[in-house]
């Protein structure tokens, strides 16, 4: 059997893939309305949607305010989102974990 990659390698590759997907591949995401938006439009309740109180966020709608160019702005917003999510979820998991215990229990 071939050597298994180290945990750190798996982690770094995973974060790199996430950054590439959010920063670059997302340029090619479909711009069509998503399933809920489409269904709401067809069923006739899309008009009841209200702007979020967070609509004024500098990252609202996956673009960085003040940065021109859809790709650059969207890519930077995606990278920022990946990093914020990584820090928040990773930090929470590190706080909650059983320290010094590498053997997962049932």
């Amino acid at each position: 059997m071939s050597r298994r990659p180290r945990t750190r390698t798996v982690w770094l590759v995973g974060v790199a893939v996430a950054l590439l997907v959010a920063g670059v591949a997302s340029w090619y995401a479909s711009g069509s309305p998503d399933g809920l938006e489409w269904a709401a439009g067809r069923a006739g309740f899309l008009g009841t949607a209200e702007d979020s109180a967070a609509a004024g966020s500098p990252l609202a709608d996956y673009s960085v305010r003040g940065v021109d160019g859809g790709r650059l702005s969207g890519g930077l917003a995606g990278v920022a989102g990946v990093l914020v999510t990584l820090v928040l979820a990773g930090g929470l998991a590190l706080l909650l974990r059983r320290r010094g215990d590498r053997t997962p229990r049932r």
Binding site: R4, A29, S32, G35, E50, S52, A77, G81, L96, P104
Partner: protein
């Protein structure tokens, strides 16, 4: 499926927020069983990966699109309780920083995308391995089936919430038909991404996958970063006499 503010009335949104908060509170305690020094960093990785892939809307028939929800994949990778926390963090970041999904509707989105999908995904993964086999094929098939069904399941729960507290005066049957139809198609994409990502991780390090750890035990012991097996900690293997103590009981 990120519900904006305004679709559901305030009492319904308050009820889903209470359900979401209660579940997260339980998950904060229960996830401890799933998180240790090895798996905790992978929870952060899984969450940021789901955030990234949720940006990748793929086209679905009839001028609409869908994206991964990720609850089934996350549950298979890090376990169901940790998955609830990971999905909640993703939805919180999206709602607060990206205005994707409403703030009043955050509890609704946690219930739909962070709870229903995890429940359906993990439940079907466990059911499949219980009744069929614990093989890699069964794990991936169960995860794929769970991922596929988790999307229309979330659509149905949204429809039920709409029936209870939808602001617009629209027949519930109409909402159910459109929601389950399009989300059935999106579920196929959900299953494809889930099986592809899970299959890749299981192929290289099954011991890191909550829903597939048993696959690592059936063959040779997995190589770990220290070159020792996972059940031996480097700081507990030596007794006072310098002998190896694989059970760590001399601690």
């Amino acid at each position: 499926m990120h519900v904006p503010d305004g679709f559901l009335d305030v009492p319904t949104s308050a009820a889903t927020a209470a359900l979401a908060a209660g579940t997260v509170a339980v998950a904060l305690r229960q996830s401890r069983r799933e998180l240790d020094d090895l798996t905790a960093p992978l929870a952060g990785l899984t969450a940021c990966f789901v955030f990234a892939v949720q940006m990748m809307n793929f086209p679905v028939a009839a001028g609409t699109s869908g994206h991964l929800m990720g609850g089934a994949l996350t549950a298979a990778l890090v376990g169901p309780w940790t998955a609830v926390l990971c999905m909640t963090v993703v939805l919180l970041v999206q709602a607060v920083f990206f205005a994707d999904g409403g703030l009043v509707a955050l509890g609704t989105n946690v219930v739909l995308v962070g709870l229903v999908t995890v429940l359906v995904g993990w439940g079907l993964l466990r059911a499949t391995t219980a009744v069929w086999s614990r093989s890699r094929t069964a794990v991936l098939a169960g995860a794929g089936l769970g991922a596929f069904l988790s999307v229309p399941a979330a659509a149905l729960v949204f429809t039920a919430l709409f029936a209870a507290g939808g602001v617009a005066d629209v027949p519930v049957g109409t909402v159910a038909a459109f929601m389950t139809g399009v989300h059935g198609l999106i579920g196929l994409g959900e299953a494809a991404i889930t099986v592809a990502v899970l299959g890749a991780v299981v192929a290289v390090r099954p011991d890191l996958v909550r829903g597939a750890r048993h696959l690592a035990r059936t063959g040779l012991a997995p190589r770990t970063d220290t070159g020792r097996t996972d059940t031996v900690r480097t700081d507990t293997v030596r007794t006072d006499t310098g002998r190896l103590d694989p059970t760590g009981s001399a601690r």
